[in-house]
């Protein structure tokens, strides 16, 4: 069951009812009213949970199919750098962090987008992209690892898939019983890809992005890379040309908020376990060689 989805559906209703309860009425009736409100709140929660369980299930195979469509859209929008050596290097860095917490049901793929824009994307099913522009503002390999680890969080937590699921009944117009729906059938696949691609280009939730940053800190540290890498990358965003970070800034929390959250994530890792490899020389040689 999709716990986060249920919480998203249930929380506003519960909060509204709780607020109503707190504003209460005359003292003699307050207890009964409170009981009724709590009873209704429980029913709202039950309904939300039923809606949650009715979410259209998306299997790994379907996720990959949708992910390929979104990846084709990303690659079509920016263009792909078809440089085998550079792609191999990015893949090796990506796999180094991916194997720390791998999903056993997917293969991770990495590629570089031919754009000066500073950005990175993750399509469902393991398709991870970083732009030339993002690589250009990095100073070492650990920063590349940090950015890729951030994207891997979106893949592993199925953030885009959850967005598609949460919008399936409205955006995709699904009215059938959830268990009978094949999201990759002719009727729904294009809409699922469109919904997922839009979610990716419009931005995921603040919660998802901050968790991805924290995941990056934990994962790069466990891989042996300098755990401050993603923080150092984020701190560079304010120094990049505005037109190159415009989309990224619109789709992510404020830089200051991200840095504060990253400091908290770093503080949670003992200094001895933060990793210290930056591999700056190799990055200059292999990541920035063209």
């Amino acid at each position: 069951m999709n716990g986060r989805l249920v919480r998203r559906l249930a929380s506003p209703a519960l909060a509204a009812l709780a607020a109503l309860a707190l504003t209460g009425t005359a003292a003699p009736a307050r207890g009964q009213i409170l009981d009724r409100i709590l009873e209704k709140a429980e029913k709202v929660k039950e309904t939300a949970e039923k809606v949650g369980t009715a979410v259209v299930p998306i299997s790994t195979e379907q996720e990959i199919e949708i992910g390929r469509g979104i990846a084709a859209t990303i690659a079509g929008h920016y263009g792909l750098v078809r440089d085998s050596l550079l792609t191999e290097y990015v893949t090796l860095v990506g796999l180094t962090v991916a194997v720390i917490d791998p999903r056993p049901d997917i293969a991770y793929r990495f590629a570089v987008l031919d754009s000066d824009e500073v950005n990175a994307f993750a399509a469902p099913g393991g398709y991870v992209f970083v732009t030339r522009g993002a690589i250009a503002i990095m100073e070492d390999e650990s920063m590349l690892a940090g950015v890729l680890a951030h994207e891997l969080s979106h893949v592993n937590r199925r953030d885009i898939i959850e967005e598609i699921q949460s919008k399936a009944r409205t955006a995709l117009g699904i009215e059938e019983a959830a268990e009978r729906v094949d999201i990759t059938g002719e009727e729904y696949l294009q809409k699922a890809i469109e919904t997922g691609a839009s979610a990716l280009f419009m931005g995921l939730s603040r919660e998802d992005e901050l968790e991805a940053d924290a995941y990056s800190v934990r994962t790069t540290a466990a891989a042996g890379y300098d755990a401050t890498a993603i923080r150092r990358f984020v701190s560079r965003l304010d120094r990049a040309a505005e037109e190159e970070v415009s989309l990224l800034k619109k789709t992510h929390p404020d830089v200051d908020d991200r840095l504060a959250a990253l400091d908290r994530a770093l503080a949670a890792i003992p200094a001895a376990e933060r990793g210290d490899v930056t591999a700056a020389a190799r990055f200059q040689d292999r990541g920035m060689h063209r």
Partner: protein, 272 residues
């Protein structure tokens, strides 16, 4: 120290003999006695001489395989994945119970001592242990000196299911994990699941900067999917940067700077 990693050539099997079997029996008894109490797991990265045998320096060893060990009480599961033709091969799974060590396959278990892998020198080296505590980096000496192997050990998560770990049969049915030769127990990445249909995209997408027209590029996705990195390349990459487990390797000794001929009367080591 710079250790290049290449595929390990097939290690020739030694001829079975009574003496060898006795040696192996001794190794297994010693190992069994060395398994510590309690529940634990560890992983070892093995570097062996490329041509087998013994070499004079650790520099001459190459990535040869990975070993995962799971222990609880007197029971132990050892998964050995040797490098074969540049990739990690099928795991050799050895499980011990009260009756001794068994080679575990999909059709059941057979006494390990009489199985073919028991005659593999790499497997024998692994079983020689130690089964208990060991440093993160150790050099296994050859019988007459030299280096027979370099072993890097990292502690693993001991939160495994003992029923599954010490099962004397590998699952007969399964998906990609078994197809790729991995046991279903140890964590592994399944690269077998791929979509059957071609990648499709959409020609219009909403972005935070407005709606944009797109020409999807399914060929780019296929190009991505065609990129391959072998496990041996991956290990080389990590070792170059001393990323775990290779951070356990000793530091490279600083190279001696070339000494310029000293002018007469100049004190060695003085600075201008």
């Amino acid at each position: 120290m710079r250790i290049a990693i290449i595929a390990l050539a097939a290690v020739p099997l030694i001829a079975p003999s009574l003496a060898a079997q006795e040696d192996l029996a001794g190794i297994l008894v010693e190992r069994r006695e060395g398994v510590p109490a309690g529940k634990r797991a560890f992983e070892e990265t093995w570097l062996l001489p490329a041509a087998g045998g013994v070499v004079s320096s650790a520099d001459e060893t190459r990535f040869a395989g990975r070993v995962s060990v799971f222990q609880q009480g007197s029971k132990e599961r050892i998964e050995i994945r040797p490098v074969e033709e540049g990739a990690l091969g099928d795991p050799i799974v050895i499980v011990s119970d009260d009756g001794g060590y068994h080679l575990v396959t999909r059709v059941g278990a057979t006494p390990f001592a009489t199985s073919a892998p028991a005659r593999d020198p790499f497997v024998q080296l692994v079983l020689t242990g130690p089964a208990g505590a060991a440093p993160p980096h150790r050099i296994v000496p050859g019988p007459g000196g030299g280096v027979a192997a370099v072993v890097l050990r990292s502690e693993g998560r001991a939160a495994f299911d003992p029923d599954e770990a010490f099962e004397l049969r590998l699952p007969q049915v399964g998906g990609g994990l078994l197809r790729t030769g991995l046991s279903s127990f140890s964590a592994a990445q399944n690269t077998e699941v791929t979509a059957s249909a071609g990648a499709r995209g959409v020609d219009q997408v909403r972005t935070a900067n407005g709606t944009v027209s797109v020409t999807p590029d399914p060929a780019a996705v296929e190009w991505m999917e065609a990129r391959r990195v072998s496990p041996v390349e991956f290990e080389t990459f990590k070792m170059e940067a001393r990323l775990p487990p290779y951070d356990a390797l000793p530091e490279e000794p600083a190279e001696e700077p070339a000494t310029e001929p000293q002018a007469a009367g100049t004190a060695v080591g003085s600075s201008p």
